[in-house]
């Protein structure tokens, strides 16, 4: 007997790669439905106040216009909660901003009308004819000013167990009495996800109470739930399809006003409606990484043991929704500090709501923490890697629990070697190559290894192939490919004989794609459903062949599309024959979240990023010349797509460190960065050949696959690695991102 070929871990090509590169993949704005019409949003031009009037006459009379919907004529959506009634409550009914229901303006470019026309150009033209009249009120969009009214999130006030509460271990603010002290402030600006694909939805009322949405979302089931509630419909009456998502990075984790608008527009026009945001609108109404101020105070002994850390953060949110994220989580568990204080606050501004952006709060927090670690190492005249090793944690200092697995030291070793860390000079500004100063820096990242609950369904088809289905989306990481590999190994089938279908809310329940949790969560469900399918096959084989019926379970071999028995050369049943004999077979399993192990162990993925940068002595331009990312993410299902994830995350980190910066003119409360010529994301020339290394050790407790998640740790820690390298190159410490040339000349 030959051992079945293993697919897990292999750099298999993406199952949908061909579709994507040939244009055969259909995205949310590409569904051509009969009678399809186009919707364009009209945004407010003030940041706060009241809409005293809205002139829609010219728009309504413009050629091709089918409907102009405003708060004066919008149909009521029975399940919506009024906007901002309780900003602390996570909204479960559509967008947190209930559009077209009142005259209040809460942020600039808030949708005040939606225009529907027979062509996009006509809709866009008519939208420009809609004129709002306003009674403006004094707005606040400036975080520095808003900080004065910063508050503890309501969720923390209500729930003493919320991680958003103040945290304390050891003595409060003990840094004051430390031997070597550091006290610094760090700021990250608002950053916008800006996936290549703009936010888009095609809304189709198939019947007055049946809605189909082709929507850019990271969670088909969450979107279904939100809009079913918004319209007071049973969930099964709403179907959400998101087969292909052209990147999201978090901005499709939430239901947004434009989705509500498209659905309302489709109702009013009684036609399927397509609505795609413009790049300008991507800044204002579909979330962003919030502008955040942080302060780190740290003390250490002269021999490099941290004695105390106090880390505070104030993040921006909107006035109608309290968005919180885990900015301070990494600080509480990364280093062995006996005394530790964290305080998390929000500042509510007249802006649209933020939403998690890749590596979310942790990436923001890591910029402050990992910069401070570098600053402290410098004060101590210690190598920053050595300083981290002296404060390494062998168990979670926050909970006292053992790690489910932790190979961060191994990551340190791998990364330091590859980047050439031994070339690093302790003194900044010491290495010069022509007109360029050269420096090295490192930054560490961590993110909870979450496993949620999920279902998966599997069906063996008469031709011997297996169809798996899950409502999960694949926003680019290669979910479909990884699941195919997991199924292939579990079933003993070639990947080509497996079809994994995703991105449809009618498929087996799955969580929203986010928080690096999909392989951890859906992977085990796929594995379990495949095991269940094998049980079924064994049963079927037993019915036709007594040898199988009497065999011990572990003696049945599944390989090469057949069941065989070890030690029995004649017993052999093909999958195809079995399914023909049974007249079809289908199984669905419910896979459970990690209960008990989650109680016993602290579960995290870890990463470290090492950067070498070059800074031009005269122009202050920074180029990342080397970037090495090493991850302890448990088992790697697909070396290629996982490596891809790491590289993409690192490029995101380069953007965060060096260029991404959405700017509001506070006088108008309006963005002045409005397109990708103003808001820079890295181009190829900004990314070196990023090297990725995985420890690839299975975690024994998160799930049976041994995975821990990659998506977030790919970004967390990259920005401080670059900032620290810039310091090492130049002696200039930039504590407010991005590190643009103006800050270095």
């Amino acid at each position: 007997m030959k051992t079945p070929e293993k697919h897990i871990g292999k750099p298999m090509n993406r199952v949908d790669g061909r579709q994507k590169v040939t244009g055969a993949a259909t995205y949310s704005a590409e569904y051509e439905l009969p009678g399809l019409v186009y919707a364009v949003l009209v945004g407010s031009t003030i940041a706060k106040g009241r809409l005293t009037g809205i002139d829609t006459k010219a728009a309504a009379g413009a050629p091709g216009v089918l409907a102009v919907v405003t708060h004066l004529n919008a149909p009521q959506t029975p399940g919506s909660k009024p906007t901002g009634k309780d900003p602390s409550q996570p909204q479960t009914t559509g967008s947190a901003l209930r559009i077209f229901t009142d005259d209040q303006i809460r942020f600039n470019d808030q949708p005040i009308a939606v225009v529907v026309a027979d062509t996009l150009e006509r809709a866009r033209y008519a939208a420009r004819l809609v004129k709002g009249q306003y009674a403006p009120e004094k707005h606040q969009t400036n975080l520095e000013a808003g900080k004065a009214q910063a508050f503890l999130p309501t969720s923390a006030k209500k729930n003493p167990k919320s991680p958003m509460n103040d945290y304390q271990r050891g003595q409060a603010d003990a840094y004051k009495t430390g031997a070597i002290k550091l006290e610094q402030e760090y700021v990250i600006p608002t950053e916008v996800h800006h996936p290549m694909e703009l936010q888009a939805i095609t809304a189709h009322w198939e019947a007055p109470d049946r809605l189909t949405l082709y929507d850019k979302t990271q969670g088909t089931m969450a979107t279904r739930r939100d809009f079913a509630k918004e319209w007071g419909l049973p969930e099964e009456n709403v179907k959400v399809i998101a087969t292909f998502v052209g990147g999201a990075f978090g901005n499709a984790l939430h239901s947004w006003p434009h989705e509500s608008a498209a659905i309302i527009a489709a109702k009013v026009a009684n036609r399927p409606v397509k609505l795609m945001l413009t790049r300008e609108q991507m800044f204002t109404m579909v979330g962003y990484r919030p502008h955040t101020w942080q302060k780190v105070r740290m003390s250490a002994t002269a021999d490099g043991k941290i004695t105390a850390i106090t880390h505070e953060s104030i993040g921006q949110t909107s006035t109608y929704e309290e968005f919180t994220e885990s900015t301070l989580a990494q600080t509480r568990m990364m280093y062995q500090s006996p005394n530790l204080t964290t305080r998390y606050r929000l500042a509510a501004l007249n802006v649209g709501s933020p939403i998690w952006m890749r590596g979310p709060g942790e990436a923001t927090g890591a910029f402050a923490l990992e910069s401070a670690m570098d600053e402290m190492a410098y004060l101590l005249k210690l190598d920053p890697l050595e300083f981290r090793l002296r404060n390494y944690t062998e168990q979670d200092p926050e909970t006292g629990k053992p790690w489910s697995s932790k190979f961060l030291k191994e990551c340190y070793r791998l990364g330091a070697e590859r980047v050439g860390w031994n070339q690093r000079q302790l003194a900044p500004g010491a290495v010069r190559d022509g007109d360029w100063l050269v420096g090295y820096g490192m930054g560490v990242g961590t993110f909870g290894a979450h496993r949620g609950s999920s279902k998966a369904s599997a069906r063996l088809l008469p031709n011997g192939t297996v169809l798996l289905q899950s409502a999960v989306t694949d926003i680019g990481p290669g979910t479909g490919t990884a699941m195919t590999q997991i199924a292939a190994d579990t079933l003993g089938l070639a990947p080509a004989k497996i079809r994994f279908e995703w991105g449809n809310s009618d498929f087996a329940q799955a969580p929203t794609q986010g928080g690096s949790a999909i392989v951890n969560t859906v992977g085990p469900a796929v594995q379990e459903v495949c095991l269940a399918l094998k049980d079924k096959l064994r049963e079927l084989a037993g019915a036709g062949n007594a040898a199988f019926a009497s065999a011990k379970k572990e003696d049945v071999i599944f390989a090469d599309d057949h069941l065989t028995l070890s030690g029995n050369d004649t017993a052999r049943a093909s999958y195809a024959d079995l399914v023909k004999q049974a007249g079809g077979t289908a199984v669905t399993v419910q896979s459970k979240p990690n209960g008990e192990n989650g109680q016993k162990y602290s579960m995290y993925s870890f990463s470290v990023h090492f950067a070498q940068v070059r800074v031009h002595v005269l122009t202050g331009e920074v180029r990342v010349s080397k970037l090495v990312s090493c991850a302890d993410a448990g088992t790697i299902i697909n070396e290629k797509t996982a490596g891809n994830q790491m590289k993409g995350g690192a490029v995101g980190g380069i953007g965060m460190a060096l260029m991404e910066h959405a700017i509001i003119d506070d006088r108008f409360g309006r963005y002045v960065t409005k397109d990708l010529a103003d808001y820079h994301v890295p181009v190829h020339a900004d990314a070196p050949d990023i090297q990725v290394a995985f420890v690839n050790q299975p975690d024994p407790y998160v799930n049976a696959l041994g995975t821990k998640g990659i998506g977030e740790i790919a970004t967390i820690g990259v920005a401080p690695a670059i900032a620290n390298a810039v310091f090492n190159a130049t002696g200039k410490r930039v504590r407010e991102l991005p590190i643009t040339p103006d800050k270095l000349v």
Binding site: T45, P63, E121, R124, Y125, R128, D435, H616, L618, T619, G620, E621, R623, L658, M659, I663, D665, R667, F668, R670, V672, T673, K674, A677, D678, H680, P682, V683, H684, A685, D686, P738, T740, P741, D742, K743, V745
Partner: protein, 326 residues
């Protein structure tokens, strides 16, 4: 986008007539700037006169100079053998601009006439004297990181964003125009204007005048040239500021120099006094620094672009150093 008429004449005169007849008409070449502005509602022509069929694409020697047709593509000019041989500075500047895709669409005439990237100009909900005279200058007390340090007025502090134009002004180019009143030539240095009290006018082009070509006289600046563009990412970004530098060296002595800056004024900014300061000097960093100091005389910054006062001289020195070593 507004409804508009669209015509595509094949003769220059017909194109000029088509625009002259209609106060709200505009030429369109590559469309890479105009179409964006139309989508944002910043420019709302009622008639587009597509000039792509006019025979204005040649790059040829004329007398002791090079004539480049107004419709020559940015990429074609940058790749042209004659251009690379005679005016490598122009090729460098062109290749520093935009992206290959855009350079394959953008034309020489359109590049000169591209409008400022000032964010207030682009947003019809914000004040901007250039877009709407009398509405105020949003940038003056707003976000003015990218704005001018030379030649501005209290009506407008925008900069001209073109890279190509910085090289052309350094190379003493001439613009060839054809209009209802006939043909004329304009020194490139006089083509763009300072904002003064009428920032709505970017150039001295008369209504319905067509750019037909630019001419660049032969010069000794065929080797020691450099276009230094400082930007926030390695490629595909407008300049924070830029410097076109050209040296004519005799051994290590500077016989003649050309120096111009982009991203610092409402027009490409020729630095004549600094050029003079270089003549007869040795090509050393010290001499470059002295010239840079001369170049920056009179510069004045606003709230967010103070860095340009430091970056400017540094970029000049870097450009000259690189040019000298070329």
């Amino acid at each position: 986008m507004n409804q508009f008429q669209y015509v595509r004449p094949t003769k220059a005169q017909a194109a000029i007539d088509a625009v002259a007849k209609d106060a709200n008409a505009a030429f369109i070449a590559g469309g890479t700037n105009l179409v964006d502005l139309m989508k944002r509602g910043v420019m709302t022509p009622q008639k587009l006169v597509d000039i792509n069929r006019l025979p204005l694409r040649q790059i040829e020697r004329v007398g002791t100079g090079l004539r480049i047709g107004a419709l020559a593509l940015n990429s074609a000019v940058a790749d042209d053998r004659l251009v690379r041989e005679k005016h490598p500075l122009l090729a460098l500047a062109l290749n520093a601009g935009a992206s290959p895709q855009l350079r394959n669409m953008a034309t020489v005439g359109g590049n000169m006439l591209q409008r400022t990237r000032c964010a207030y100009f682009y947003d019809v909900a914000m004040p901007c004297n250039k877009r709407q005279p009398g509405s105020g200058c949003g940038a003056l007390e707003g976000i003015n990181r990218m704005h001018a340090i030379f030649g501005f007025s209290d009506k407008c502090i925008a900069v001209h964003p073109s890279d190509m134009s910085v090289a052309l002004v350094a190379l003493d180019a001439t613009v060839l125009l054809s209009g209802p009143k006939g043909d004329r030539k304009l020194a490139f240095a006089d083509f763009h204007r300072l904002p003064g009290t009428t920032p709505e006018r970017d150039t001295n082009l008369e209504p319905s005048e067509l750019i037909t070509a630019v001419e660049i006289p032969d010069s000794p600046f065929t080797r020691h040239v450099h276009y230094q563009k400082v930007r926030e990412r390695a490629s595909y970004a407008f300049a924070l500021l830029s410097v076109a530098a050209a040296l004519d060296l005799d051994g290590n002595t500077i016989k003649a120099a050309r120096l111009a800056m982009g991203g610092v004024a409402h027009k490409p900014w020729r630095l004549a006094a600094a050029e003079q300061a270089l003549v007869g000097q040795p090509a050393t960093e010290a001499a470059f620094q002295r010239a840079a100091a001369v170049a920056m005389q009179g510069a004045k910054a606003f709230k967010h672009n103070e860095y340009k006062l430091r970056l400017g001289p540094n970029a000049i020195v870097q450009a000259l150093k690189t040019a000298a070593a070329a």
